[in-house]
């Protein structure tokens, strides 16, 4: 049997140094923030509180004093900045710890000067929601907490959002981060993704009133913004690839619309001109921005309650309505 020979002298120190360095580097790198689970109901009744529980684990490999930051992706119709409360408990604190909304525009760490909300949108995205009426809100603990190195902290965040009565189907998203590193730190050579954690649960349905704001399922046409008056500029899109329809292969698409005034009159604008022509966005997507007051030529005393519309080809012969059928799309004006 061959004898194992241990190095001695200078050679031994060389090995000790190498092993120690490897261990130290192993300890220093590898900080992580992970969202383990998010408990949120599949559906909630409009006008009530949506309760959410977020469980997370933070592993530190370096001493740090930071505040906890939680980001939530919500539809703008919820006005969640004003209708959300958040607290957390953890394995290193006692009792619920208060958290406060980070004011819009407050720069995020290492974010190049952009605010937390914008940084979350740019970095994490919009979770695949199809209607561009979403926003990130971010809360921060009122206190910064000193955490030792090589510590594992369990965190449970309680989030309550009072949702309005609107019918909504939406993909929420969550982020956990801390106030020192933000979303872009690469300290100790770690990738920035080590300094925050994300979670994308199943879509949530708010059972309320009015037209369903469906952010999840592709639709032929959903007017943006969801809430407007006739004195807003509204965007009327047409996604020709969602369902088989006579305009799937059209080289140009036009709007054929009827406005209904509060006095009960109807005004039709159904022509194939530059005024009604949708702009191509590529991949079968089209859209037209209109100012309803100007588009329908309203007099100062007139106002619109709603519009109905179809899409046509350049001849006006092929018409596409709701669900690719013959009924028009409809949009009702009103504010939240």
């Amino acid at each position: 049997m061959k004898k194992l020979r241990l190095p001695t002298g200078r050679r031994a120190w060389n090995w000790v140094w190498k092993i120690a360095a490897t261990v130290i580097i192993g300890i220093v790198i590898g900080c992580s923030l992970t969202i383990n689970s998010v408990t949120q109901p599949a559906s909630v009744t409009g006008g009530t509180v949506l309760p959410i529980t977020l469980n997370a684990t933070i592993v530190t490999n370096n001493p740090q004093t930071s505040a906890l930051v939680i980001g939530v992706l919500v539809p703008t119709v919820w006005n969640a900045s004003a209708n959300t409360t958040m607290t957390f408990t953890s394995s290193i604190t006692s009792g619920p710890q208060p958290m406060t909304l980070i004011p819009a525009g407050t720069p995020s760490p290492n974010g190049g000067g952009v605010g937390w909300q914008t940084d979350l949108m740019n970095t994490i995205g919009h979770a695949g929601n199809l209607i561009p009426e979403y926003e990130w809100i971010a809360f921060q603990s009122n206190t910064q907490y000193a955490v030792n190195s090589n510590t594992t902290v369990s965190v449970t965040v309680s989030i309550n959002i009072t949702v309005p009565t609107n019918n909504v189907y939406f993909k929420m998203a969550y982020v956990i981060a801390e106030s020192s590193d933000g979303l872009h730190s690469t300290d100790y050579g770690d990738p920035s993704t080590d300094y925050y954690g994300t979670f994308f649960p199943a879509p949530i349905r708010v059972n309320g009133t009015g037209t369903l704001l469906d952010f999840v399922n592709p639709q032929l046409s959903v007017v943006v913004p969801g809430f407007s008056t006739d004195n807003d500029i509204i965007t009327i899109p047409f996604n020709s690839t969602v369902a088989a329809n006579p305009l799937s292969a059209a080289s140009s698409v036009y709007l054929c619309a009827t406005g209904y005034t509060s006095a009960g009159d109807s005004i039709q604008v159904c022509q194939q001109t530059s005024k009604t022509q949708l702009q191509p966005l590529g991949a079968g997507n089209w859209q037209l921005d209109i100012w309803p007051r100007g588009f329908f030529g309203l007099s100062p005393g007139q106002s619109l309650d709603s519009i109905e519309y179809f899409f046509t080809d350049v001849n006006g012969a092929n018409k596409v309505g709701y669900g690719a059928g013959t009924s028009p799309f409809s949009y009702t004006f009103g504010c939240q």
Binding site: T76, I233, D289, G294, C335
Partner: protein
Amino acid sequence: MKRLIKINCALLLGILFSCKVEHASPPNEAVKNISGSWTITDATRNGTDLTSGFNFSQFRIVFSDSTYTIDSLVPFVVSHNGKWAFNDPQYPFSIIFTQTDSPSVSTPFLFPVVNGVRNIVLTFSPGCPSNTYQYTLQKAN
């Protein structure tokens, strides 16, 4: 020796009294001048660009000393001619429009120079309060 001391004292006193306290006052900030005809060069709704999809080219607003005239072919802070004023002529943070026979409307006002060109940036909600528009105006050529 005494004479030398006297001369030195006289010189010292002369130096001391030749100094006078300078009362520095900050330069006066110029009153912001927005007179002229302005057009919309950039527009957003809730942060989404509208400039490429909506025709703003027909819009004009002409400011004179205290009045404005408008071709309101787009949603704007006001839709009729009237008077205007700054909340502070030297350090304006808002501009106040007063249409004839209508209450005054105040809206945030910025007056930055971008790439050597003076801009007026207005933020307002002509329709639903939840929809915020930001127009950037530049002087018409």
